[in-house]
């Protein structure tokens, strides 16, 4: 796997928030890399800094120090406008609470990233329909998000995440608002997407969600605590966190 292209790399990422006079170190020099087509989970308890990490990996936020590479490009000090372009082209977000726009149809929600990418309407529609068919929502195109079930909403948001063919799909507690049966279905969808070559990054605190990934990066107190490599056969193998280099 090591000779494959690194789609994402973090090199000594730190994030410091200043609240009043107090400095909060949310991330302390985190380094790791993710290869193209990999299935990775980032695990950690609340307060571990995994949300901050997810925001930085998703280019919603910039690290205080350190570098971050997406498809080999340094994105850690880009302008807001350039970050928006990166988010649009390279990142697919799947949120715990779906974050679909309530007043437009599911189809239009999936078209949204392509609108900002400047994809012509015809192609946009065709691609959105294909993505929705892929997640099993081909018969719900014109429903509003409020008219479908939670599982279907999450499928729609997954379709939105993959429709622009991003470098990474970043899923933040994707099953957090779903019952266990629906949650399992959604996780199966992620497995399928990964089998089709999508790079998936799950951010979660749930062990059974993380276990779908082939590698689990454990975050604790803003640091990489340990990295757990899992194989299809035996389930898991554990590595020390320091062993990972960029």
């Amino acid at each position: 796997m090591s000779d494959r292209v690194k789609v994402f790399a973090a090199d000594g990422i730190s994030k410091v928030y200043t609240i009043g006079d107090i400095e909060v170190h949310a991330l302390r020099s985190i380094s790791f890399a993710i290869e193209n087509g990999e299935y990775v989970a980032i695990m950690g308890p609340s307060g571990s800094g995994k949300s901050t990490l997810m925001h930085i990996m998703g280019c919603l936020d910039r690290p205080t120090s350190g570098s971050m590479y997406l498809r080999g490009k340094d994105v850690s000090s880009l302008s807001d406008g350039d970050l928006a372009e990166i988010r649009n082209a390279e990142i697919g977000f799947v949120f715990q609470n779906f974050n679909l726009l309530p007043n437009i149809s599911i189809l239009e929600n999936v078209e949204l990233p392509m609108i900002y990418a400047g994809v012509p309407p015809k192609e946009r529609r065709a691609r959105a329909v294909r993505a929705l068919e892929m997640v099993g929502l081909g018969d719900r195109l014109h429903h509003k998000p409020s008219e479908v079930s939670g599982g279907q909403r999450q499928r729609a948001s997954i379709a939105r995440a993959i429709v622009n063919r991003p470098a990474i799909v970043l899923a933040d507690e994707p099953t957090g608002n779903l019952d266990s049966v629906t949650g399992t279905e959604i996780m199966e969808l992620f497995d399928e997407l990964n089998a089709n070559g999508n790079t998936i990054i799950l951010v979660t605190h749930e062990r059974d969600v993380a276990e779908h990934a082939s590698r689990i990066i454990h975050i604790l107190d803003g640091r990489v605590d340990r990295v757990e490599v899992r194989t299809q056969e035996n389930g898991s193998g554990v590595q020390a966190g320091e062993a990972v280099d960029v």
């Binding site: 919603l60 372009e85 988010r87 649009n88 974050n99 726009l101 007043n103 900002y116 400047g118």
Partner: protein, 404 residues
């Protein structure tokens, strides 16, 4: 991302909350409608007044006494007492462009017939006056040259005077009395003027016309008239006539401050300036409501932004740039105000039409006023939309996504 996409998004979110959109539209509708209505009424009034002045004959020139400055508000006798009947003849001979010169003397008095009496304006004039002010008798006749030459005690009544004094009786041939100051004159009615109504500030229907010589000699015991009404050969000639008369009067009186020569065009100019100012003022007052409407839009847009913080976060997460969000919200407020402006235009147009009809004025919507109102409302949308749109655009996506 092209403009059509922005329009779709903006229209989509405006139609989401229809009641709110309608209410914020209302502010702009009222603003624009009141601008259009008031300005069109103003221009209607202007046209009305202008056409009235035009009806009096655009080649009319009046010579009247000058003001004395610092005289404690008194118009001096000395100044008035220079307009003689002889001078009228001298002016007549100044230029072939001068058709008529009518010496006029006006006083007020009480007209009495039988048990009726009415307060009237008594105008001493010569026969040419009917042509000069374009006002003719409908019953009987007007003053004649021999009436003036012989100080005849006759009168031609204004329409209202005839009605008030004589009712349904035919006044022609009847004797009436006119009380001027302490004197009472017995006059024979020879004619009744056509109804002319209120022209400018003057009511021509509550006057009686008498020979100017008779009024001076028998009524006022004076040699001097109030001024002259001059009829120029044409409107174009009026200007040169004004200059000639001014030069002549200055020579005669030795001082150009002691009299004023005004052509109808000068009056027209002064009046349209005054009504123009009034129109402008009405428009300015109405603009205040447009401003209030704009503040309403800003208010609603600020609410919208905070309400849609999450939407902004989602849009930013999937790749919307600052300028996309800015354009989206700005377009929304501009659409709101332009749409309101168009509706307001329709309402104002209708309102102006009905009010003008009710007042009997000519209806006129000035195209500049329409363009200003529409442009101004778009400007209002832009101006009051900028702040909320900037707020929206500058939201931090992380914060916006967390917003509940």
């Amino acid at each position: 991302m092209n403009l059509i996409e922005f329009f779709k998004i903006a229209l989509g979110s405006l139609s989401t909350n229809k009641l709110r959109t309608a209410l914020s539209l209302l502010g702009i509708i009222i603003g624009v409608a009141s601008v259009i209505t008031l300005v069109s009424i103003g221009t209607g009034a202007q046209e009305q007044v202008t056409s009235q002045i035009g009806a009096m004959g655009s080649n009319l020139i009046t010579v009247s006494p000058g003001f004395i400055r610092g005289g404690g508000g008194r118009v001096s006798q000395d100044i008035a007492n220079v307009f003689t009947l002889e001078m009228a003849k001298a002016i007549q001979n100044l230029s072939p462009n001068i058709q008529h010169v009518v010496p006029t003397s006006t006083t007020s008095g009480l007209a009495v017939y039988g048990g009726n009496n009415v307060r009237v304006q008594i105008s001493g004039v010569t026969p040419e006056y009917q042509e000069v002010i374009n006002h003719y008798p409908v019953i009987g006749r007007y003053i004649r040259d021999q009436d003036v030459a012989n100080n005849e005690k006759i009168a031609v009544l204004g329409w209202e005077v005839a009605e008030d004094l004589f009712g349904s009786e035919n006044p022609v041939g009847k004797a009436m009395r006119v009380v001027i100051g302490g004197r009472s004159l017995s006059l024979t009615v020879v004619g009744v003027m056509e109804a002319k109504g209120q022209v400018m500030m003057a009511n021509y229907d509550n006057r009686i016309y008498v020979p100017v010589t008779m009024l001076l000699n028998r009524g006022l015991n004076s040699r001097y008239v109030d001024g002259y009404s001059i009829m120029a050969a044409s409107r174009d000639a009026a200007k040169s006539v004004v200059e000639e008369v001014e030069a002549f009067m200055t020579r005669m009186l030795g001082d150009s401050d002691r009299f004023r020569v005004m052509s109808q065009d000068t009056i027209l100019e002064a009046v349209s300036q005054a009504t123009g100012t009034m129109t402008l003022m009405l428009g300015a007052i109405a603009s205040i409501s447009l401003l209030v409407g704009g503040i309403g839009i800003m208010n609603i847009m600020l609410v919208t932004v905070s309400e849609r913080t999450r939407e902004i976060g989602i849009r930013k997460a999937v790749g919307a740039k600052r300028q996309h969000i800015l354009a989206q919200f700005l377009l929304e407020s501009v659409l709101l105000s332009v749409f309101g402006g168009l509706l307001g235009l329709a309402v104002g147009w209708g309102g102006g039409y009905w009010i003008s009809k009710a007042l009997g004025w000519p209806f006129s919507v000035s195209i500049p006023a329409v363009m200003v109102a529409i442009g101004f409302s778009a400007g209002v949308g832009l101006f009051f939309g900028i702040y909320p749109a900037l707020q929206a655009a500058s939201l931090d996506p992380v914060v916006a996504l967390r917003y509940e």
